[in-house]
Amino acid sequence: MKHTLAVLVENRAGVLSRVAGLFSRRGYNIDSLAVGVTEEPDVSRMTIVVHGDDSVLEQVKKQLNKLVEVIKVSDLASEDAVERELALFKVAADESSRAEIMQITDIFRARIVDVGPKSVTVEVTGNEEKIMAIENLLQKFGIKEMVRTGKIAIARGSKKV
């Protein structure tokens, strides 16, 4: 089972390494990890996607909570959260394929953010499924490079973590 954890931490040097170290030391699998500052400047928020059964997840949460610099850990169920990821694809493109790539880009409400003689760079935001879908479609032109941010998520409605 995949879970998305929102982890509020003190915005201090070394916290990321502590969290990453915990995962590797205890053998938990991280699918993705994204981190940035929050509305409170001294708090950072990590969005961590992990997989494992319920007892593993329970341990992950408890062990995270034991870190002194971890302020709060919340498990965001996908139904109740807006989830986004950003990806950039550098796709091989020439005169003949450029139009089709632009079409696909439009359908996905993605954007072309750079054009070169032999490639275009596509920026797309969305949940994991959407990014996988566009990746599949772009595949046939040749994806020369791909970069993804890892998922960030926020609860729906006025609820705060």
Partner: protein, 562 residues
């Protein structure tokens, strides 16, 4: 000393003031280039500093001091090799949840990251073996960090905290102001157990016919031994302890079943396997205790009292968790529990105790290690017993008669050979009123024998009784039982003459080669009032029994007769 006022002092002086304000009287350490400013200020202070001969010993001594007194131990080293030498001691304290604060020198900040001389990333290295750690980057934060370090080390589930101190931090001037309290929004240990859970536990206990209390080191660190005994007597349940839980109930108490697990008593292991309710208190279901998990106490419901929520259901599913401090919770629980239905159960346990007592083959010409422990137990009543790691450690756990908490100090979780002697030094420094005996092995003692110098120089009269079997005995035992007696690299018979070693350091060295010499030698060592070694030549291929082979269920027990 006031905490509110402000004055200008350097970082090193500030650290010492913080130590004094935390009530520290003794620290254990070893100097070097990047910690000289601290030592320079220490020169003018009233803090007692015990100069060890290896930094590992400083960490173990701080640990022994902490376990014996209940206060936080402090150790100090320089950067690089000094700091890395602390690592085993810090890991030992971490595994057994012992509160220590380690202070390490570090290269000046502008050099960090450049592979400077004697630079080691000790914060990174100790991240997995500390409860928390710091690299001080602004001298003005020193007081806050020191305050937090002592708070974190000693509260909740205790543990080691390390503070890395770049040299420039130690010499910069700051306005010293010691904070009154700590503010850590990510650290709020729970002490009081949830009342609803306490009541549920009481109901569960009332329904039980075969309850057993399984007490761990947490009972001792929360100073809950008296509460444990009262609770056990109230519900009339037998108590088994882990290795680090020894001392939480007197050995001779009729409800005590001794230690459980790999080298536990048969009756403790049978009892837990047949129980219908396991009440775990400050224990963590370690694999040396549970044996094969799938067959551990399969008919029992489980109540687990622990201050660390992450221990709940980590290895064994728990029916009723109560997160909080053992002392609080046992008190509360004792109030709510009522009757007990344990008469048949206790009768059965008495039968088991009669049928399967701890025993060994007595002999008159060779010295049996169990006999040695029995002699120590008679001569050194109420002593603090410290051990190394190996067979001798298990014999000490099995045969010494303990009557109080904080009198059995041993490396349980990490199993660190070399722990005992320096920890004994720390314990004696913390409890000078107590007799302190290190029950040691010939292998383990050589891992920190240089500390004889520390004991002699500082006049710390610790007695080390070395169970000399000429082997790395515990490993040899495994080789005998599970590897066809192929004694690969476990013969250490070419070791030092321990009597001469003691004498070379200016300590007293004695030897016992016949059973009749054991007791007089121990008595002479104690009465000398000096640091002493008693080298006891024991039966060299004696094994520790009972024994549950690794991975077996804990009622599948090998014994002497098998």
């Amino acid at each position: 000393m006031t905490t509110g006022s402000t004055e200008k002092i350097n970082g090193a002086r500030a650290i010492i003031k913080c130590l004094e304000l935390e009530g520290v009287d003794t620290i254990f350490g070893y100097p070097g280039g990047q910690i000289i400013p601290f030592y320079n200020e220490l020169y003018d202070s009233d803090l007692r500093h015990i100069l060890v001969r290896h930094e590992q010993a400083a960490a173990h001594a701080a640990d022994g001091y902490a376990r014996a007194t209940g206060k936080t131990g402090v150790c100090v080293s320089t950067s690089g090799p000094g700091a890395t030498n602390l690592v085993t001691g810090i890991a030992t304290a971490y595994m057994d949840s012992v509160p220590i604060v380690a202070l390490t020198g570090q290269v000046p900040q502008f050099m960090i990251g450049n592979d400077a001389f004697q630079e080691a990333d000790i914060k990174g290295i100790t991240q997995p073996i500390t409860k928390h750690n710091y690299l001080v980057q602004d001298a003005n934060e020193l007081p806050r960090i020191m305050k937090e370090a002592f708070y974190i080390a000693s509260t909740g589930r205790p543990g080691p905290v390390l503070i890395d101190l770049p040299k420039d931090i130690q010499i910069s001037e700051i306005d010293f102001h010691y904070p009154e309290k700590v503010e850590l929004r990510g650290y709020k240990p729970t002490y009081k157990g949830n009342l609803q859970q306490v009541k549920r536990a009481a109901e569960e206990i009332a329904k039980s016919f075969r309850p057993i209390i399984y007490a761990g080191g947490g009972v001792i660190s929360s100073n809950a031994a008296a509460e444990l005994v009262r609770f056990a007597e109230t519900i009339m349940a037998p108590v088994t302890t882990t290795l680090t839980g020894i001392g939480s109930i007197p050995t001779e108490h009729p409800l005590n079943l001794g230690m459980l697990g790999m080298h536990g008593t048969k009756y403790a292991n049978y009892a837990i396997q047949e129980s219908d309710l396991v009440i775990a208190v400050g224990a963590r279901f370690d694999d040396r205790v549970t044996g094969k998990l799938e067959s551990f106490a399969t008919n029992a419901r489980v109540i687990h009292i622990d201050i660390d929520p992450a221990e709940i259901s980590k290895n064994v599913p728990v029916n009723i968790p109560i997160v909080g401090d053992a002392k609080h919770i046992l008190k509360a629980l004792t109030k709510y529990v009522k009757c007990c239905n344990s008469e048949f159960w206790l009768a059965k346990i008495i039968e088991w105790k009669k049928e399967y007592p701890l025993s060994y083959r007595k002999e008159t010409d060779v010295i049996k290690p169990q006999f040695v422990v029995e002699q120590i137990s008679e001569v050194c009543k109420d002593a603090i017993i410290v051990t190394e790691v190996g067979q001798h450690q298990m014999w000490a756990a099995q045969y010494f008669k303990f009557s109080e908490p904080r009198t059995f100090l041993t490396s349980g979780g990490l199993g660190t050979m070399g722990y005992g002697y320096p920890a004994a030094i720390g314990a004696k420094v913390g409890r000078p009123d107590k007799l302190v005996v290190d029950i040691s092995g010939d292998g383990s003692f050589q891992m920190n024998s240089q500390e004889l110098a520390t004991a002699v120089q500082n006049d710390i009269p610790v007695v080390a009784v070395i169970m000399n079997n000429g082997y790395l005995g515990m490993v040899r035992q495994w080789q005998e039982l599970f590897f066809d007696r192929r004694y690969s690299c476990t013969d250490i018979s070419g070791s030092v003459d321990f009597v001469k070693l003691a004498e070379a350091y200016g300590a007293l060295g004695l030897r016992a080669e016949k059973p009749s010499e054991v007791r007089p030698a121990i008595e002479e060592a104690i009465n000398s009032g000096r640091p002493a070694i008693v080298d006891v030549i024991i039966e060299c291929e004696e094994n520790v029994y009972p024994m549950v082979p690794a991975g077996a269920a804990i009622n599948e027990i090998l014994d002497l007769e098998d």
